[in-house]
């Protein structure tokens, strides 16, 4: 697995270069859309959390939509990517945030771009995005079952066995453009 910014937690210079990388990535994904940082990532004395949690976050101006990316220490041999939609109740409003947890590689960057575009540009609802995430998980797990792909989701033995049962049923129902797109995206 080829990671991007593999040493981002080892020194501050690399860490902030990585944050800048995410900033530029989102500027490319969301052209002509105004967004701003929403969640604080520094302590009371101004020092950064410096833990990738979140590595980057944004909220679309005049909207209740946000994106929250947690970048984890790269240690998996396979693709590590998880996502869900969560609500954050602030003082006077409720924000819907697309949470993405990943180890950063070209593959997980592509998956992020795809989900964020659908969440923000295509303005998908949380339920539509959750369905997409389910399809994505199924596609990744489907590859896991076939065992012929070098990149797979890390799933512990017990979870994997449970998933094998449920996924085989879901796989029968795999169809539609969205799933085809996701499978292409995941193709090695």
């Amino acid at each position: 697995m080829k990671f991007i910014f593999e040493d981002f937690l080892k020194d501050e210079k690399t860490y902030f270069e990585c944050v800048e990388y995410w900033k530029q990535l989102f500027e490319k994904i969301l052209p002509n859309i105004e967004f701003e940082k929403y969640f604080n990532t520094t302590f009371g004395n101004g020092k950064d959390f410096f833990d990738g949690n979140p590595i980057y976050n944004l909220r679309i101006k005049n909207s209740d939509k946000a994106v929250f990316v947690v970048q984890e220490k790269p240690e998996s041999e396979n693709v590590y990517f998880k996502s869900w939609v969560d609500e954050f109740e602030a003082e006077n409003e409720t924000i819907e945030k697309l949470v993405i947890v990943l180890e950063l590689s070209e593959k997980t960057e592509s998956l992020t771009k795809n989900l964020v575009r659908n969440w923000i540009i295509n303005n998908c609802s949380s339920s539509e995005i959750e369905n997409e995430i389910k399809s994505l998980n199924t596609c990744i797990t489907n590859k896991l079952n076939k065992k012929k792909f070098s990149e797979m989701f890390i799933i512990e033995k017990n979870t994997k066995e449970q998933l094998n049962i449920s996924v085989s049923e879901k796989n029968k129902k795999l169809q539609g453009k969205n799933n085809i797109e996701l499978q292409e995206l995941l193709a090695v």
Partner: protein, 114 residues
């Protein structure tokens, strides 16, 4: 691009609010604070422990690492002047699809050292 209108809720009277949440496919438990004094480091750690003891043992076990990471963050926060809203952290359980421990500071500050 069509943009959804903001949802609004009533103002809370307390100065400091937040919660620690254990979430997953079959779990949604939390410990919240809503008070006029910011929660201290020790109170934060106590809330994390309380939540860990409140959830089924198997759920606590798989979240052991996530709870440890949360406690490390609380201690780190206390050493560095606490944290101010809005803060959101997701301590993920690797090897699972949905299991995690979340921290939210929704209003005011949290985890000061006294």
């Amino acid at each position: 691009m069509p943009i959804k209108k903001l949802k609004t809720s009533s103002n809370e009277e307390f100065k400091h609010r937040g919660r620690i949440q254990a979430q997953g496919e079959k779990l949604d438990e939390s410990e919240a604070w809503s008070q006029n004094e910011p929660p201290t480091k020790n109170e934060g750690i106590e809330m994390a422990e309380k939540l860990k003891n409140k959830i089924p043992a198997v759920q606590a076990t798989i979240r052991e690492g996530a709870f440890d990471a949360l406690k490390r963050f609380i201690i780190q926060a206390a050493k560095n002047g606490g944290v101010s809203a809005f803060v959101s952290k997701s301590f993920d359980v690797k090897g699972t699809e949905h299991e995690r421990v979340d921290l939210e500071v929704r209003k005011g500050i949290a985890f000061i050292d006294v």
